[in-house]
Amino acid sequence: MKYVIAIIHPHKLEDVRDALIALDIEALAVVEVRRFGSEEEHTEFYRADEYKVGFMPKTKIEFAVSDELADQAIDSLQKAATTGEIGDGRVYVLELAKTMQIKSGKVDADVASL
């Protein structure tokens, strides 16, 4: 089982969700985050105050996926989230030991989704 964390463009969230649903990955958690990346900056100005902003608004998504589906899921996610530019984000894949459904307390060692 894998746990996938991806930092993506906020405007790519719907595309990524649709790509994951197509693989029957139907539960994911989404958080608005700010990401610092030295390669990606933009300039903001407020009257005299002009500066480079290093913290960019991003969306972080997290989901669990079975080992069989993992590579396919990451591949679909990448295709759905990319614009080909700096700032598209990154995918992190972690080993996942187990999950538990809170409603039932059922421990599951091999679910496709969280």
Binding site: E44, F45, D49
Partner: protein, 441 residues
């Protein structure tokens, strides 16, 4: 504002019964005049002035409150709102107790008297021109509210609350009321022929210069220059600026003190100048920095409103547009270049916009004034002397305001202290001074 003849205040029957009766009789007996007589209530004028007074109050709460509140950082939003709101309450009381008397009681060329303290003698039938004195007094009260509230923009993020209250009280008594008297209360600036229709000198130059002095005396905010302080909500700032714009009709057209052609022309040029200045700031910023920012657009509009304030009842539409376009450019320079040139931290550009806009507007009033509109000719009608008179008015106001404000701040600094400690400033004034947060998110 029309020059205020202090004799009219004193025609209150309660204070001068004989004079009041005579004035009323004269008014009643004047034959065939369609115009309202001085001392006789005109219900149209009164209705408009009641409305205008509410509009000017709207400029401070919630206009300025939201404008300034949006421009500060999230941790200081509530403190900024509270400063303006508290000033609204405090200045009203100070005006009632002594401010109005010092500004409008008959005194000498420099200061009114103490005879109208606690509004002594103001009865239900006291008149001021064609409107009740109570309306005139309250209208003026809203001016005394917004002027110290404008100064908060310069010392935002770092002033002690108690020091702010003390400064506001003393500043209204020692700076605002005298200058108000000089220009509108029968004092020497009015007698010199300085034109200030709605408060370019009394309100905006005065607040701008006091703000500049306060920014310098208090010093820069912690980490100014190394950290950036972007506005936490431009949405609030835009809403606030929009309310300022709307309320300004009460400020300028209300300063006719009547519902007449002068008020109408003041309203028209106010709209034209605000629009011209918003566009000129926007296009300059677009040209110089590549993007037309929302903050620039609203800053320009406010700058234009400031600049047309002294000119409103004296210039025509073309003059209004010229004043707008020029002041938009001047305020852009004031908020972007001037501040960096002299390295002071005027947090929200109280001087850059109100000071610079007020100075430009006061001087340009002397350029574009038309005899046919307000009874005074400016440079474009060949009266170069009016420009000099305006410059004198600006210089005297700036000098007195700067010196008196400086002394006042130094006295407060030595007694109760002006500036919050570093921890308070770092945590933010909302939690440290007021024990609450602007947003529970």
């Amino acid at each position: 504002m029309k020059r205020f003849d202090t004799d009219h205040i004193l025609t209150s029957p309660a204070r001068r019964p004989t004079a009041g009766v005579i004035a009323t009789l004269v008014a009643l007996l004047a034959p065939g005049s369609a115009l309202a007589q001085e001392g006789t209530l005109d219900s149209g004028d009164t209705a408009w002035m009641l409305t205008a007074t509410a509009l000017v109050l709207l400029m401070t709460i919630p206009g300025l409150v939201l404008f300034y509140g949006g421009l500060v950082r999230r941790k200081n939003v509530l403190a900024t709102l509270v400063q303006c709101f508290a000033i609204c309450a405090l200045a009203s009381v100070v005006w009632m107790v002594i401010g109005y008397s010092l500004a409008f009681d008959s005194g000498n060329a420099f200061i009114g008297g103490f005879g109208r303290m606690f509004l002594d003698g103001m009865e239900v039938d006291s008149m001021s021109g064609t409107i009740p004195e109570s309306v005139f007094m309250t209208f003026q009260m809203t001016f005394a509210v917004i002027t110290p509230a404008l100064i908060t923009g310069a010392y935002a993020d770092r002033m002690k609350f108690g020091a702010m209250l003390m400064f506001t009280t003393l500043w209204i008594i020692l700076v605002y009321a005298p200058i108000c008297h000089w220009v509108w209360g029968g004092g020497f600036l009015g007698d010199m022929g300085v034109l200030d229709y709605a408060g370019g000198t009394v309100v905006h130059i005065n607040a701008g210069v006091a703000g500049l002095v306060a920014a310098i005396v208090l010093g820069k905010r912690l980490r100014y220059g190394s950290e950036h302080f972007p506005p936490h909500s431009l949405v609030l700032a835009v809403v606030g600026a929009a309310l300022l714009w709307v309320g300004w009709f009460g400020f300028n057209a209300g300063s006719a003190l009547a519902a007449d052609g002068s008020a109408g022309m003041a309203m028209a040029v106010t709209q034209i100048a605000a629009a011209g200045a918003a566009l000129s700031w926007m296009f300059i910023e677009w040209w110089l920095r590549g993007k037309p920012s929302g903050l620039g657009l609203i800053s320009g509009a406010v700058g234009g409103l400031v600049a047309i304030t002294p000119a409103a009842g004296f210039v025509g539409p073309a003059g209004g547009l010229a004043i707008g376009v020029l002041s938009g450019a001047a305020c852009y320079w004031g908020a972007n270049t001037l501040k960096h040139m002299f390295k002071y931290d005027d947090s929200l550009d109280a001087f850059g916009i109100h000071g610079v806009g007020g100075i430009v507007g006061a001087i340009l009033t002397g350029v574009f004034a038309l005899e046919s509109i307000g009874g005074a000719s400016g440079l474009i009608e060949g009266n170069a002397g009016q420009v000099l008179t305006q410059i004198m008015g600006v210089a005297i106001t700036m000098a007195y305001c700067a010196v008196a404000t400086f002394i006042l701040l130094k006295v407060i600094e030595k007694t109760i202290g002006l500036r919050v400690d570093e921890t308070t400033e770092t945590i933010g004034l909302d939690i440290a001074l007021h024990g609450e947060r602007g947003y529970e998110l």
